[in-house]
Symmetry: C2
Subunit: 343 residues, 2 copies
């Protein structure tokens, strides 16, 4: 990798504003601007999104302490790498894969094993062992970066990470083109999953709790149902994306015997459920987490997925605590954070 | 089907001894010998096995009331079918598939959908809407019957149903020949699963709690571990067959990210678990219930599976309550019930 640090022309400051989670509280602090280690870039944030996982992290999920946030678009302002590699990246507007892996183990070398997303030595941006994107600056390995096409605005690019998570389902479920599908959950992730799946399945229903959110899908010709807590057990594929323990029961009520249940929700702590229906009905349950960035950027570029309607509000980074309070209200869609002239 | 009832030469009695579950209690009663409807046979029990599912049924699983039992070997003594069909079956020694399906719906016509084992109109012998095998007589559709080869003794044939359940895993898990596998649970089903899997996987470990039960496997060259409640998360496939809610955690501790977890245990009531590891590690969970009888009879015939060592004791049918008490003791393997001259 070499040991050269190449900075862009603009001189960056040494202190930055950052959102910090400490033992269940969240606040905005001054922190030193991070220094990129070899092979990594320093990124100056343009825009970040708040994900339900961030809310769970404040509650204690993953026992994470530090700067949360893993949905972002940013500019490369410094690169710790040989000059040629540095020139390739400096000044680029990028999004980034959030799993930082060793690149050498079996889990990194096989796409079937997750292409590094399951590396046992990984850190994960804003989730596991690595400060995240809710700050004026962050660092990521160069191999995690993906340049954003010039024509794509920040408010679209900032959705690359959750769209990648939605696209993971396309790679995990075989014979999707034959699956009558249901998405349970009309939150941010549920809606994005529906926007992705509608191009792959012959029939799609989204079951949610909020008529106004479901209305975002009706213009896309996606069938919706409010409060469909019980189904007719006829669907081949159900995606559970409620972010709530109650979603599992609703999901199973729509799924046929020997159907496939994709579990997308992560929440902190145990849930109580009768799991015998999984056995009796021989359900295939697929846990599904992150996805590759390439299919997400393709869909955001060609307009198959248009997430702009999901943006509920945009806050200055310094009002992150208020934004988190807002994000915790039921029915709120995507909240964005932007560092202003005064962050 | 016709409407002819053809009985064997021996005249059968009109009352029989039967084990009956009523609201959480189990007792032996006199009941009328059942009358086979069109397309079904009357079977005279030779031997039955007690399964963990039977113990769960007494606790309330499936809300079943009536005669439990679904592991049996029996003689065909009466057939309600045209004479030619009746002659084919009368006097045969048989085992039987336990799911009695409509034979006409999508779930019945497709092996991928379970070949009738998921028919929404099904009854299940001794489990759902149909009296079971813990009685001197039972009825089953002719198409559920499988003749037992003459050379196979009753104490082997009585294992056909649980061996079929074990064989289901072979049909459900792709690329088994590449899977380093763990079976968690050294109960009856766990041991049978290990006996089946050892012919299909390159490496097999059975984790249990009872050294004497695990010893049954060591003569088969299967690695075993006592009290391996934590694993190294390196295995491709883990089968959870403990019959206990605690088994899920042990199972996950052995499974690698993106591995396959087969869930075989059914128990009555909810369990409390943190399901986020399924999502974070993108586990594929396969619920697995019954299997086809043919692969089971093949393995019992050619000796690939030799279950005789799993028999703990044999009780007369009239002592079924005592046998159930015995079966509830920790560490007890298969208990058999046999109707004697005096049942």
């Amino acid at each position: 990798m070499g040991d050269t640090r190449t900075a862009s022309a603009s001189s960056e400051k040494s202190l930055m504003r950052a959102v910090v989670v400490t033992e269940g509280t969240i606040r905005v602090e001054e922190r030193p601007v991070p220094v990129p280690p070899p092979g990594e870039a320093l990124l100056r944030l343009r825009m970040a999104g708040i994900c339900n996982t961030d809310l769970e992290i404040v509650k204690g999920y993953m026992a994470f302490q530090g700067v949360p946030g893993h949905e972002f678009v940013a500019d490369v302002v410094e690169v710790h790498a040989p000059a040629e590699e540095a020139r390739r990246w400096l000044g680029r507007r990028v999004v980034g894969a959030i799993n930082c892996s060793c690149g050498e183990c079996a889990f990194c070398l096989s796409e079937a094993l997750g292409g590094g997303r399951h590396c046992p030595r990984r850190t994960v941006l804003g989730i596991l062992g690595r400060d995240g994107a809710l700050a004026e600056y962050l660092t990521l390995p160069l191999r995690n970066l993906h340049e954003v096409p010039a024509a794509m605005d920040d408010r679209t690019a900032v959705f690359a990470e959750p769209v990648a998570a939605a696209c993971a389902i396309v790679e995990q479920v075989p014979a999707l083109e034959h699956c009558r599908a249901v998405v349970v959950g009309d939150g941010k992730l549920g809606l994005l999953i529906a926007m992705v799946l509608r191009h792959h399945v012959p029939e799609l229903l989204v079951v949610g709790r909020h008529r106004e959110k479901l209305r975002l899908l009706e213009t896309l010709d996606i069938a919706t149902r409010v409060d469909g807590t019980t189904g007719d057990r006829s669907y081949d594929l159900v995606v559970e994306a409620t972010g709530s323990p109650s979603g599992l029961k609703t999901a199973l009520s729509h799924l046929r015997p020997r159907g496939t249940l994709v579990l997308k929700s992560t929440y902190h702590g145990p849930i109580t459920r009768d799991l015998s229906p999984l056995v009796v009905d021989e359900i295939t349950l697929l846990g599904s987490r992150c996805g590759r960035m390439e299919p997400a950027l393709e869909r955001l570029t060609d307009g198959r997925v248009r997430p702009a309607g999901l943006i509920a509000a945009q806050y200055p980074l310094r009002f992150a605590a208020e934004a988190f309070n807002h994000a915790r209200q039921p029915g709120i869609l995507k909240l964005l954070l932007v560092p202003g002239s005064d962050s």
